[in-house]
Amino acid sequence: MKEELEKRIVKGPDGIEFEVEPLRDYYCEAAPTVMPQAYSKIIEGFFNWARAESLWILGFGTGCGAIEMRPLMTPRFDAYRYGVQWRPTPRQSNLFIISGYLSVKTLKRAIRSYEQMQNPKYVIGLGSCTINGGMYWDSYNTIKCLDDYLPVDLYIAGCMPRPEALLAGFEELKKLIRAGKAEGANQYAENFEWYKANQKKVILDWDMPDYNW
């Protein structure tokens, strides 16, 4: 446990001493819950259509695959015309692309970012590293199967997949969302214990609350 996360007594500017417990005071620890769909099937379908047509990606590149996302913003591939945008903050994003290998150190940040996103949220695993470890299959500090740690909706295979493959992947994800099959956030809430156990198995210096949003 890092020193700044430990419970301590702090003296305020007015001389009053009070106790600070960062893990409790600065984070919300309530576990995620399964969020019900809209009460009517038609409305849920309508929302799903809107969610599919407006994918906001978290601008967080985890591995070398991040380089394949950049051309999508440029004139040659221009993903904006398909309703795909990049957002700089996890709060406003719906789609988290794990781009390439994910080291254990980055996994910690990826989990925190994922948990700050709002339901419904989607995860795409980009490149073969997220499927079976790829060329890092025997590395000691990268994870091998992303599905054990975050609920993945879609994998885009390849090392590296080209930007066209990513565009095709977005279109596939849109189909999944419209069909109501992309319920990763609820899946994460349902199997929360299992995901946490898997995450804690690889992250040995676990110095954050179990759930933090």
């Binding site: 919300c28 969020m35 019900p36 769909q37 809209a38 309508f46 929302f47 809107a50 969610r51 047509e53 407006s54 440029t74 004139p75 221009d78 904006y80 015309r81 309703g83 945008q85 957002r87 700089p88 903050t89 709060r91 406003q92 719906n94 709002q118 339901n119 419904p120 956030a185 949003w213």
Partner: protein, 301 residues
């Protein structure tokens, strides 16, 4: 003056028209900016979908009361600005809730949203929001000076504080517009206009590349949707004031749409041509170039 209740549905109709026009126009301008970068850009209806999606998100979290009120204040700033200014001159239906001293109220409303946003973003506790708000308030304050000077100059020129009367004085010929009768004030006000449109070179407040999107960093779901709604209302409402004060107002909706679009395009033009100012550079720019023009405009009147 007696209040007529029919004004309320009429004003709501104005609001409805302006929201739809704003959604389409901002998408169109984004498309133009994308074409400058040789991209296709977003579909023209993308803003609607983003709005529906954000309202349709299942979860949202709060950081406290002010976090709720931030977007509400911001939206009421935009809506209030729109509703207390006559959008169509000479039309009983679309003169909204304008009254004799509405110019002062409009000046107040321009600032109101930013202040509300500051309170809300401060409650969210994200350091990026705090940086964005600091930059935003200092820049908007600097931009507001020439704007206020220009507005006072116009008020002195026409000797009234009622926007309707100012528009009435500009009717007849294009040469009666404030643009030609008091050009210095218009130039100062247009410089201030650039500063408040959140486009380059004055977009350091949002600065998505360095401080994740600034004040709204923590805002999401319906909060963000409210702020998006305001982001399409507020610029149009602000341009309506400019049309009324400086460009002869609008006597019907097509003229209104055209004038609003052209004035908005000024900031888009400047935006695609110039890189971003740092905040101290932009403040210096307002104080050195725009403010003397405003003072001169008042002295000459």
């Amino acid at each position: 003056m007696e209040f007529e209740w029919i004004k309320i549905p009429y004003s709501l109709l104005t609001l409805f028209i302006v929201v739809n026009y704003g959604l389409l126009m901002t998408a169109f301008i984004a498309k133009i900016a994308a074409r400058v970068g040789r991209r296709h850009g977003i579909p023209i209806y993308q803003n609607y979908i983003d709005l529906i999606k954000n309202y349709g998100l299942r979860s949202s979290i709060t950081h406290g009361v002010m976090f709720y009120l931030g977007p509400v204040f911001r939206l009421s700033g935009g809506v209030g600005l729109l509703l207390f200014v006559p959008s169509i001159y000479g039309s009983e239906m679309f003169s909204n809730l304008s009254f004799a001293g509405d110019l002062i109220l409009a000046l107040y409303f321009i600032f109101f949203g930013t202040l509300g946003m500051a309170l809300g973003a401060a409650e969210s506790g994200s350091p990026h929001s705090a940086i964005g708000i600091t930059r935003g308030l200092s820049q908007v304050t600097a931009a507001e000076l020439p704007m206020a000077l220009a507005v006072f100059s116009v008020a002195l020129q026409y000797e009234t504080l009622s926007i309707t009367e100012i528009v009435a004085a500009q009717q007849g010929s294009v040469l009666n517009w404030t643009l030609f009768t008091n050009p210095l004030a218009v130039v100062a006000a247009m410089m201030a206009f650039l500063g408040s449109m959140m486009r380059p070179p004055f977009d350091v407040v949002l600065a998505p590349q360095e401080i994740p999107i600034g004040p709204p960093t923590e805002y999401h779901s319906s909060y963000l949707a409210l702020m998006q709604t305001n982001r399409v209302i507020f610029p149009v409402a602000k341009v309506v004031i400019y049309t009324n004060l400086f460009f002869g107002g609008a006597t019907n909706w097509p003229i209104f749409f055209l004038k609003v679009f052209l004035i908005y395009m000024v900031s888009a033009f400047v935006g695609v041509a110039f890189p971003r100012f740092r905040v101290e550079q932009s403040i210096r720019w307002f104080l050195i170039w725009a403010m003397p023009l405003g003072i001169l405009a008042i002295l000459l009147v």
